[in-house]
Symmetry: C2
Subunit: 317 residues, 2 copies
């Protein structure tokens, strides 16, 4: 008997990644299309459906369900995006219903970080850690919670928003409008903000130190500089690590997970922020929950699409 | 057929409350004995067992299982207290095993705030809110998490420790040794500390303003003063409310619960701190999780013992 195929679609502000995977998480086919959110969701749906057909023709098999992961606040019950800084034109559009019709199969819609957490739980930990918190570090900071092997969605599907956990009182302003959110310290713009702040303190410029304009300064420049031993870049990542540590301390006290795992582009800089996290966790005197928690970095990329593909095999939720 | 009886035992630093309840949470018998932790756990077990026998004789029925709620970090797997500021002599004692032998029935041991959260979930919300976070305000601040109608215990049984979620950076020192824990702002000693700080700022004394010595100043004095319109006492509770709000904001972003409910003695002052919480939650711009969450105060007392009694009816975990 043929094994089932999982179909995951991960839509970000620029690209939509489509993966067909085996039950064990092996990628069978991969395709990327432009999200082109400015053209609106009505144009997005047929483009994705065409890509899925292409994948399935080439594979000679079809997935019976699909799961769409989207950056933003998703209502999994209505299958709509309530709010999305990256895809404002998609807000309130009946994504699930239209995609389900276009693909002629049941579709679920979830937050991308929730799906990434599911991917980490199933692939990185092989379902052996029942309680996993995933932290995605990209443009923003997202998160997902798996407890007792089940994805936690919460009352409105918004659970796992670790990016908005407060790590500073009257701290830096976040995109959400509040102050002191973890995202304002550990997402792309947060990391860049910390670097520019430090440069200003030292009377230096991004161009002078990193040979890149202020508006072009990105976490990957700072990771590369840290790799070469640049002290200012190292200090940036230590500050990122300390902010992440406050968020993680809160997560551990509330949920006492077996593991916390980082995913997403900015998590590649883990060698430069992990030390600060470990130091902060070692300083906690309430040892039971901290002695057991594993802090890890996802080895695979595309965790949102992978997690969505595997979640599509879990049956209706 | 006779309905089953739930047996809950809630052990604090001074008293142990024993409740026999019906499946619907009606209290059938109630007994209180001294915990006398200084005499050690070996003397505690027979005292509790004798009280249970007295209850069951008077009731003419026996519970088939029992659940012990204890203030401290409980390992529900081994049935031992790993750490307890109120019951240090009980640490590492095989509580579950010895109590189970003395009562001739299976016993579970859980953190008291986890049991209080279960009590709130089953009694205050009649199991109609699947995702509930309970916050107990007593000497310390504890918490428990119920998601999808199941108690979250976490990897080591330590989940729900909202009292150690950080609400201030480099804030007040907590009993646990860390700084800025919610407990240092909203537990008994935290509330008193805020009041003494405010009195000092104003050049006043506790005796002058509240007719009570500095070391005797308790949250209930401050609640009584607030009820009479005392402005300093009102300001104390506003500060408590603002600290609670930071903790609640973090809880809502991580777990997106249907309801957050306060229990325990200090929660009686809710009329004086709830306004600050509601104002803070209204200010959050990310509305979906905040628009739906109910913030409530438990109407019944003894939530730890009640929750334990009802949890004993849930079958083995």
């Amino acid at each position: 008997m043929l094994k089932r195929v999982g179909l995951g679609i991960d839509t970000g502000g620029t690209f939509t990644k489509i993966l067909a995977v085996s039950e064990s998480g092996q990628v069978l086919r991969r395709l990327q299309v432009r999200s082109e959110p400015h053209l609106g969701p009505a144009r997005f749906i047929p483009r994705v459906a065409a890509a899925v057909r292409r994948i399935e023709r080439s594979l000679g098999r079809s997935a019976q369900t699909a799961c769409l992961a989207v950056a933003g606040d998703v209502d999994p019950v209505s299958g709509r995006l309530r709010r999305s800084p990256n895809l404002p034109a998609f807000e309130d559009f009946p994504l699930r219903e239209r995609l389900s019709r276009a693909l002629s199969r049941p579709v679920e819609v979830h937050n991308d970080a929730n799906m990434a957490a599911w991917g980490c739980y199933t692939l990185e930990f092989k379902r052996r850690c029942p309680n996993v918190v995933g932290v995605t570090m990209g443009t923003g900071v997202g998160g997902g919670v798996v407890l007792d092997g089940r994805l936690v969605t919460g009352a409105t599907g918004s659970a796992g928003e670790i990016g908005h956990v407060r790590v500073a009182v009257d701290g830096a302003v976040c995109r959400c409008g509040a102050r002191g959110c973890l995202e304002a310290y550990a997402g792309k713009y947060g990391v860049t903000r910390i670097a520019l702040e430090l440069l200003r303190e030292k009377g230096e410029t991004a161009r002078g130190r990193f040979r890149v304009g202020e508006s072009a300064l990105q976490p990957h420049h700072l990771a590369a500089a840290a790799a070469q031993g640049d002290r200012l870049a190292r200090e940036v990542w230590r500050r990122v690590g300390r902010a992440l540590a406050v968020g993680i301390v809160n997560v551990v006290y509330l949920l006492n997970p077996d593991a916390i795992i980082f995913a997403g582009g900015v998590s590649r800089a883990a060698p430069y922020f992990m030390g600060s996290i470990r130091r902060a966790l070692r300083a906690e005197t309430f040892r039971a929950p901290f002695g057991r928690v594993r802090i890890a970095v996802a080895r695979r990329e595309d965790m949102g699409a992978l997690g969505a593909a595997l979640y599509s095999l879990e049956g209706p939720h």
